[in-house]
């Protein structure tokens, strides 16, 4: 009777023997495949070569390295160029893939070249596997590049050194073309703005200047008396232009009041003008006759009333008398006291 330990040992020996047999079988298959590939390669190799070259086998983490793939062949036509995606292996990333470049030699050979820019963010040795190219679709012959090895090193950390700041951003290389392009664009914008301003100035609606009545330099009574004389010479009411006579007469008087008494008589009605003059201290007799004259003017202006000749003359006399009675001679004006030292 076998013990439990003896059983276990026997089972272990059987497993070892079985594993050894499997390993032997695998080795034989691998040798067979290698011989087959070698035979095929040697057949193809007579007419074509494939090559993979790295411009550096040692890079810093994140640095980029160029992988040049070159195929040179005689009369064979490459049917399948390997396609690349984001990575070659999990650790090697493809940054950029150039378009395959074909060169025909005088000797009849054809060279196809393609450059891949690779980078890695893992450290240590990274194996670049063979890249297979298939020739002749009918016979499906394959050639593969040699496997390559890249060493990606980490940045050495100086533990005792001070902490350094990150690097400054790279300067954009100076570009004359860009400068000229932007300069022209800026000039165009400035020209458009200037043209716009000029057009706006030319076609804008100029607002009317506000109506301002400047106080004349001459005394108000002088102007009023002159204008009254002119009105008399016009002989308006004698020529059946009574309404115009009263329009002008009332305008002369109201303008005189405005400049003489600083009352906005031109913007006031008859009643308002008389009230304003009373507030300025003008006595009742003067305002009463003035009111009478202005009311007569209102009748002629707004009520189609045609006063008789006597009334016209009387109104004219009232206007002249009012100016003469209220005029201020320059000598009457208070003298401004000169500064005493």
């Amino acid at each position: 009777m076998r013990t439990r330990f003896e059983d276990r040992g026997l089972r272990f020996k059987r497993v070892i023997a079985s594993t050894a047999l499997q390993s032997l079988a695998m080795k034989r298959i691998a040798s067979f495949l290698a011989i087959t590939v070698l035979l095929l390669s040697s057949a193809v190799a007579q007419n074509a070569t494939v090559k993979a070259e790295l411009d550096s086998t040692q890079i810093l983490i994140g640095d980029q390295v160029n992988l040049d793939l070159t195929v040179e062949f005689n009369d064979m036509i490459p049917v399948a160029w390997p396609t690349f995606k984001d990575t070659i292996t999990g650790q090697l990333e493809i940054v950029k893939v150039s378009i395959p470049d074909t060169i025909k030699k005088e000797t009849g050979e054809t060279i196809i070249h393609q450059r891949l820019v690779l980078t890695s963010f893992d450290t240590g040795f990274i194996a670049l596997p063979p890249i297979a190219f298939m020739f002749n679709a009918d016979s499906a012959q394959t050639l593969a590049t040699e496997p390559l090895l890249i060493f990606v090193s980490d940045i050495p950390v100086e533990m005792e050194a001070d902490i350094k700041d990150i690097k400054e951003p790279y300067d954009v290389p100076f570009n004359w073309q860009s400068l000229i392009k932007w300069g022209l664009l800026a000039l165009l914008v400035i020209a458009l703005i200037v043209a716009g301003i000029l057009l706006w100035k030319k076609y804008r609606k100029v607002p009317e200047a506000p109506k301002t009545r400047l106080k004349p330099k001459r005394p108000a009574h002088e102007i009023a008396l002159e204008e009254l004389e002119e009105l008399r010479h016009k002989k308006l009411w004698q020529n059946n232009q009574t309404k115009q006579f009263y329009i002008e007469l009332s305008d002369i008087v109201r303008e005189y009041i405005e400049f003489r008494f600083d009352v906005l008589a031109l913007e006031m009605t008859t009643q308002e003008t008389v009230s304003a003059l009373k507030l300025k201290g003008l006595d009742e007799t003067k305002t009463q006759s003035l009111k009478q004259m202005l009311q007569m003017a209102d009748l002629a202006k707004f009520a189609k009333y045609t006063p008789i000749s006597n009334e016209n003359e009387q109104c004219f006399d009232i206007a002249r008398a009012f100016v003469n009675a209220t005029l201020v001679m320059p000598l009457d004006e208070p003298k401004v006291e000169q500064g005493k030292g």
């Binding site: 506000p210 009605t269 009643q271 707004f302």
Partner: protein, 328 residues
């Protein structure tokens, strides 16, 4: 008719009732001469009136009194938030006996309508009233009914207590010819009001006029002569409210959002004629225009936010305009 002498004579004859109405109203209303005058202007110009004032200023009483001096129909509608358009214009009611619909006319079918606190009713009721004011007719069901002349709406509005009110839109306010703002009475008037109340004396106005008298007076008002210089003056004032910068009033440009409409010019001319009539004149003078300018324009000039922020009122803007526009 262009003969001023004839017009003056006619006015002298036809305007006698003005004194009688004023006297009757003075029996009831103490002071508030301007309000009474404005009511007469509205009555003579076929223009509806909006009265604005704080409570207790006799707005409703004044309108009531004016209506009672004229022997004509009078309706009072108290505007409330639950009022319906049918409550104002009328509706159709099913008649069981005839099996058809009978029309029941609303309170708007009267000569004088007092729309009390018009801003308390919702927009649809306001527009029903304002449409009737404008068209002078009401449609109930398939039938349109003309409103009887004289037809005058006098609405009151309270400027305070704005909660739960429906402010009248500008387009609808524009349909009121005059917006009269009532202010507090002076000390003497207020003392007299107290005396009346303490003595328990509440005199009533007598009916002294017939509606035909008003219609006749309106015809005379239409004949009041308005010179083209006065017309130009009115146009100048209204244009100054629209384009102040072109009339030497650049400072008002940012304060006015919109100026008076052509309806404002028409209302100003009509009201000035009525004022001249009240003053027993057959022609309009600039005083007449200035006297009615505030009531005609205050609700027709839109104020900007800047003006409201600076507490500038439309009355101040009108005063600036009147002080700048040259009187003919």
């Amino acid at each position: 008719m262009t003969d001023i002498k004839q017009i003056n004579e006619m006015i002298e004859k036809e305007s006698a009732f003005v004194d009688i109405i004023t006297m009757e109203m003075d029996k009831v209303i103490v002071g508030q001469k301007h309000m009474v005058e404005s009511l007469l202007i509205g009555l003579l110009s076929k223009g509806h009136i909006l009265l604005e004032g704080v409570p207790g200023l006799a707005k409703t009483l004044a309108i009531n009194t004016l209506a009672s001096t004229i022997n004509a129909g009078f309706s009072r509608i108290q505007f409330t938030p639950d009022l319906l358009p049918a409550d104002v214009v009328g509706t159709q009611i099913y008649n069981q006996k005839t099996g058809g619909f009978d029309v029941r006319k609303g309170p708007i079918f009267s000569n004088f309508i007092l729309a009390d606190e018009i801003n308390r009713a919702p927009a649809k009721v306001q527009s029903a009233l304002l449409e009737a004011m404008q068209e002078k007719q009401v449609t109930i069901g398939d039938t349109t009914y003309k409103l009887e002349e004289p037809f005058l709406v006098m609405a009151t509005m309270n400027p305070i207590e704005q909660e739960g009110t429906y402010p009248l839109p500008e387009a609808q306010v524009d349909r009121f010819m005059l917006k009269v703002v009532i202010s507090y009475p002076n000390k003497a008037d207020e003392a007299q009001i107290i005396r009346h109340n303490m003595a328990g004396e509440f005199p009533k106005a007598n009916s002294v006029l017939k509606p035909e008298d008003i219609i006749k007076a309106r015809d005379v008002v239409r004949q009041v002569y308005m010179d083209e210089k006065i017309e130009k003056y009115i146009v100048d004032i209204v244009f100054a409210s629209r384009y102040p910068q072109d009339n030497g009033l650049a400072k008002l440009k940012d304060l006015i959002s919109f100026g008076g409409s052509p309806r404002a010019s028409i209302a100003l001319a009509k009201a000035a004629k009525s004022y001249a009539f009240i003053k027993r004149r057959g022609y309009v003078i600039p005083e007449d225009v200035r006297a009615v300018c505030n009531d005609v324009l205050r609700h027709r000039i839109g104020l900007t936010y800047e003006a409201e922020a600076e507490n500038i009122t439309s009355e101040e803007i009108i005063a600036d305009i009147l002080n700048t526009v040259e009187v003919p």
